[in-house]
Symmetry: C2
Subunit: 161 residues, 2 copies
């Protein structure tokens, strides 16, 4: 199924983030069956608070298509967008957003807010959720579990040293 | 007064946008009395839906300070932030947001939403509104009035031609 095909590509991006020690979130933008933008979270690497997967993918797609309007594009992202990314998706006039798993802490596409489908703004997207949800969720929980373990060990090292 | 001093700098940025035919919105970021980031709306010039004044100022400040955390920074912007920019402000952990005039169409710092002070997110900002409100509002209404006039003339030219 196409949704899963492109979500797998978003997961490939997430894995790039993971390998670099970044919170593993990935996104791709698809137009007419072609991937026109890719991104993974690079906040720490770039020291840029706006360097989320969706933002990077949107900027890449806009540059490639030479247009800030991405009306005929769909965005696939492993985690539900935060307010910034949901707002950028509206700004870019993305047609459909497909995401893997919900974000209970900042999700702004249905969980805490639904910026993508607020009729007071000048654009609304279609939305499909739960695609490859388990993989999208597991990559994050595994990352954070390892991070907690590492911090615990560092703390113990300090106590012992 | 300092609020007005820095809002005047944000207005200077807005005027740069105006001169380039962009919707005139400007922003500056201030840390310890120094401007560490500047930005004006460049959406059309850059063909980038994320190239709002606030986003550019945040990215510049993060690059200059070599940190995605802008905790000790204040952001001045002529127009109330949209969801994307309000979300970026939260991501960057900005301390205080000062804005000139409300945005009834997309304002997400009190008008349609208040992303800056939603306690469900992991950061909230202080907020000061209405600083040099008239200037910040007039530059926008003048711009849009001229744009409408230009479109009307172009339509008439077509009809007459």
């Amino acid at each position: 199924m196409d949704y899963e095909k492109y979500m797998k590509e978003a997961l490939r991006e997430a894995k790039k983030a993971q390998q670099l020690g970044e919170v593993p979130i990935g996104a791709v933008i698809v137009k007419d069956g072609q991937i026109v933008g890719r991104g993974y979270n690079r906040r720490e690497l770039d020291n840029d608070p706006t360097a989320h997967a969706e933002m990077i993918a949107i900027r890449e797609a806009s540059a490639r298509l030479d247009s800030w309007r991405l009306n005929d594009c769909d965005l696939y992202v492993t985690l539900e967008p935060c307010p910034m990314c949901a707002g950028a998706i509206i700004q870019a006039r993305i047609d459909t957003v497909v995401y893997g798993t919900e974000d209970p802490k900042a999700g702004s596409a249905g969980t805490l807010l639904n910026i993508l489908q607020d009729e007071r703004f000048n654009h609304q997207t279609n939305m499909i959720t739960g695609v490859l949800k388990e993989e999208c969720s597991t990559i994050l929980t595994t990352f954070f579990r390892a991070l907690r373990q590492k911090k615990k060990e560092q703390k113990q090292d300090k106590t012992n040293g």
